[in-house]
């Protein structure tokens, strides 16, 4: 996915989208994890590229530079945001948290907060979203905590809270998928009407925004059957087959779709679609990515895995475009009930005979609920053989 310099869509938080009670439950769960690890405080980091952890707890999506949520074991959360004091009013619209302040000097600001919130002058600061934090910011945090204690990384433990989606989250993901379907339809129609790749992608983007998307990211082939790429220049050419990757965000939640337009019949697209159907039949609680990869391989015959799916069959998706688990072909991770995943398939032949397709699925007790798929599927609910 191509990063963007500034997010411009509708990001203001409102309880109608995601109620306060949902955030309070998340916060309680996070605090239980803190207590279990002996952490006294939590710092959650996000930036405009990756903000899943921060948005999960606070709803806040950083549009300008990094932002940090400071979470004591008890008491009110504070959010530190990039930008000056004059921007705080607009930043407050993005979250339910009332205490929103400029970061200022991160080291000093954090040192001051720790002094206010920790007992006995001792702290163990848990970090969430720390792996993607810039080195400069991490050094500032390490400097601030040094007089109080130490830092512990809680990404794995706290990311686990995000894996199982709530009913409300599922509704938001369904809405994101509904918009994804609209974008896909617009892309196909524009292409069918003779638009070249760039203009067709723009038509899809406009359609998605008109349907309520917060953000839309589209990559498309720059040559016949080429991999999906960003539009680096103003050239607009007609390509067939056109392989596209569509990302649509609604209320913070991403939907992803891989599609192939204008592929010859009976070639890579037929293989990729057959492989995806076979993969979807395998998805259930306890299934492994290897199960899916093996099922897919049986349908590729003389074709290879497309490079986009060469090493993984997909990943978790939600507030992050790519969230754990990453479903590597050889990985030991297992599909979990309550998880939402993007499952990808692709076939690579010769002379541009390439295709990619995908599906978004919610794993249920004994099968899957298909939230979106680039292939025809007879019913939205698929029940498989039962959990492994």
């Amino acid at each position: 996915m191509k990063n963007t310099a500034l997010l411009t869509g509708p990001y203001d938080w409102g309880p109608a989208l995601l109620p306060l009670a949902e955030f309070q439950a998340r916060l309680s769960a996070a605090r239980r994890s803190l207590a279990a690890c002996g952490a006294t405080s939590l710092l959650v980091h996000g930036n405009s590229i990756e903000y899943g952890a921060l948005a999960y707890l606070t709803g806040f999506v950083p549009k300008l530079g990094p932002a940090f949520a400071l979470v004591p074991r008890e008491g009110a959360i504070r959010i530190l945001v990039s930008g000056g004091a004059g921007m705080i009013g607009s930043a407050k619209l993005l979250t339910w948290v009332e205490d929103v302040r400029p970061v200022g000097n991160l080291r000093n600001t954090l040192h001051e907060w720790l002094g206010e919130t920790v007992r006995d002058g001792k702290a163990t600061l848990a970090l969430w979203g720390g792996n993607i934090m810039a080195q400069r910011a991490y050094s500032a945090i390490a400097g601030a905590i040094q007089p109080f204690g130490s830092i512990i990384d809680m990404d794995d433990r706290l990311d686990a809270l995000r894996r199982r989606k709530s009913l409300r989250e599922l509704e938001l993901l369904r809405e994101a998928c509904r918009i994804l379907a609209i974008a896909r339809g617009a892309l196909e129609r524009a292409t069918g009407d003779g638009s070249n790749a760039r203009n067709a992608a723009l038509a899809a983007e406009r359609a998605a925004f008109a349907a309520g998307a917060q953000d839309v990211r589209i990559l498309a082939s720059a040559r016949n059957g080429g991999p999906p790429l960003p539009f680096d220049d103003a050239s607009d050419i007609r390509v067939a087959p056109l392989l596209a990757s569509l990302g649509v965000r609604f209320a913070g939640y991403w939907a992803e779709g891989l599609i192939t337009i204008g592929a010859p019949q009976g070639g890579a697209l037929a293989r990729a679609e057959a492989a995806l159907r076979a993969m979807l039949r395998e998805v259930r609680p306890g299934a492994t990515p290897g199960d899916l990869a093996r099922a897919a391989a049986q349908h590729l015959t003389s074709y290879k895995f497309h490079p986009l799916v060469e090493t993984s069959v997909g990943n978790g998706i939600g507030l992050s475009f790519e969230e754990p688990p990453i479903l590597g072909h050889e990985g030991k991770t297992r599909f979990e009930q309550g998880g939402v995943y993007t499952v990808r398939s692709g076939a690579m032949g010769e002379r541009g005979d390439n295709a990619i397709v995908s599906a978004m699925v919610a794993v249920t007790a004994n099968g899957i609920d298909i939230l979106w798929a680039s292939i025809n599927h007879s019913a939205s609910k698929t029940t498989t053989k039962g959990p492994r």
Partner: protein
């Protein structure tokens, strides 16, 4: 100047500092006012993190992530022999092992903006013996290339067309974010590949902010910075639009801010420090009784360099002593909060010429009005 001359200048700088190997880093987030060492060296705009390894006596190499960007990286051509990988650290370790650089003879640019886990791994590979080289690297050649200047002109034209579109569309009742999204799409249709588009409206703006869900109202002052990127070169224009007939005071204060901007632009010539531009702007506002508003927290900078790549000559600020050179490109924007009107925005992108400044925008800032 062309891209090869830039690389030659960096290599000369490495030589002067006894550096044999330079690691230029990118975190994959291209921004108008933040530098990107990889883009500066070769124009490539990363999707994920990436590096250019630049040897003083040997070929340069581009290492990018993710692996899925292999075709795009290979097509970039300069430096050739790019590696696209999902294991950046492993690829880098292998390349550095091949380099056999003498300890203490390697340098790095952009480490502070890299994800800290990756940064720590990188430092571990070098066993901490690596020189931070950011200032020397960007100082070695701060001018834009002819190609970058051409892109800046195109980006400026797109920004101005974006403004025309804004004036055609902005109406009371429209959400700020919907207007911003439409402008973004429109400028993309003109060839922009990204946009740092700030836009907000209020009867009294405390500052410019990213657009919110708020609906524009009659009597608002809409302020915006339109910052499209064309083939990786950002340019910015800053504008103010009255929604309905503005008060006389708004007109008068806007004229003041525009006058301050021109005082700054007219100061520009090779050989002067950036601080003089800021001082010239400040003088106009101080003379009008706004000295207090020329300092923090009301004022931090009155413009900035334009990336991505290098953002030299840096901020238009009283403490920036960077000396101007021909073909530097930056935006001059007084963008001033005034107690009577709130925040007002005007700003033009400029190129330093042999004798002064060329404004890249064709139609410069004037208070625009959406009629009642």
């Amino acid at each position: 100047m062309n891209a090869d001359a830039r690389i030659d200048a960096v290599i000369r700088c490495m030589s002067e500092h006894g550096i044999e190997l330079l690691i230029a880093c990118s975190n994959g987030l291209q921004m108008p006012d933040l530098p990107d060492a990889v883009t500066h060296l070769c124009g490539y705009r990363s999707l994920g993190e990436s590096f250019v390894l630049l040897r003083r006596n040997g070929p340069a190499k581009l290492i990018v992530s993710p692996a899925a960007d292999a075709e795009r990286a290979a097509a970039w051509g300069n430096p050739p022999a790019g590696i696209a990988t999902d294991d950046l650290v492993g690829a880098l370790a292998r390349e550095l092992a091949d380099c056999k650089t003498v300890a203490g003879r390697s340098a790095i640019v952009g480490l502070g903006d890299m994800p800290h886990v990756l940064a720590e791994q990188l430092l571990a590979i070098q066993q901490g013996a690596i020189l931070s080289f950011d200032d020397a690297f960007y100082g070695a050649n701060a001018r834009k290339t002819s190609a970058e200047i051409g892109r800046a002109r195109r980006a400026a034209a797109i920004a101005e067309q974006g403004l025309e579109r804004l004036l055609a569309l902005a109406r009371p009742g429209m959400r700020e974010c919907d207007l911003a999204v439409e402008l973004n799409c429109y400028m993309k249709s003109l060839g922009a590949d990204d946009n740092f588009l700030m836009l907000c409206a209020s009867p009294h703006n405390p500052a410019v902010s990213p657009s919110s869900n708020r609906r524009i109202e009659q009597g608002d002052i809409l302020i915006t910075e339109l910052t499209p990127s064309y083939e990786g070169q950002f340019v910015q224009i800053c504008r103010t639009v009255a929604i309905g007939a503005p008060r006389a005071e708004v007109r008068a204060k806007y004229d003041l801010v525009v006058r301050a901007m021109w005082a700054g632009i007219e100061t520009i010539r090779p050989g002067i420090p950036m601080s003089q531009i800021c001082a010239a702007i400040d003088r106009v506002l101080q003379a009008a009784g706004y000295a207090e508003y020329c300092r923090p927290p009301h004022m931090r900078r009155r413009g900035h360099g334009l990336g991505c790549g290098s953002v030299a000559p840096g901020d238009v600020a009283v403490d920036n002593e960077t000396v101007l050179e021909e073909d530097m490109v930056f935006v001059v924007h007084p963008n001033q909060y005034l107690p009577e009107t709130g925040y007002l925005m005007c700003g033009e992108p400029v190129r330093v010429t042999a004798t002064g400044a060329e404004t890249l925008s064709m139609k410069t800032a004037a208070l625009a009005i959406i009629p009642d």
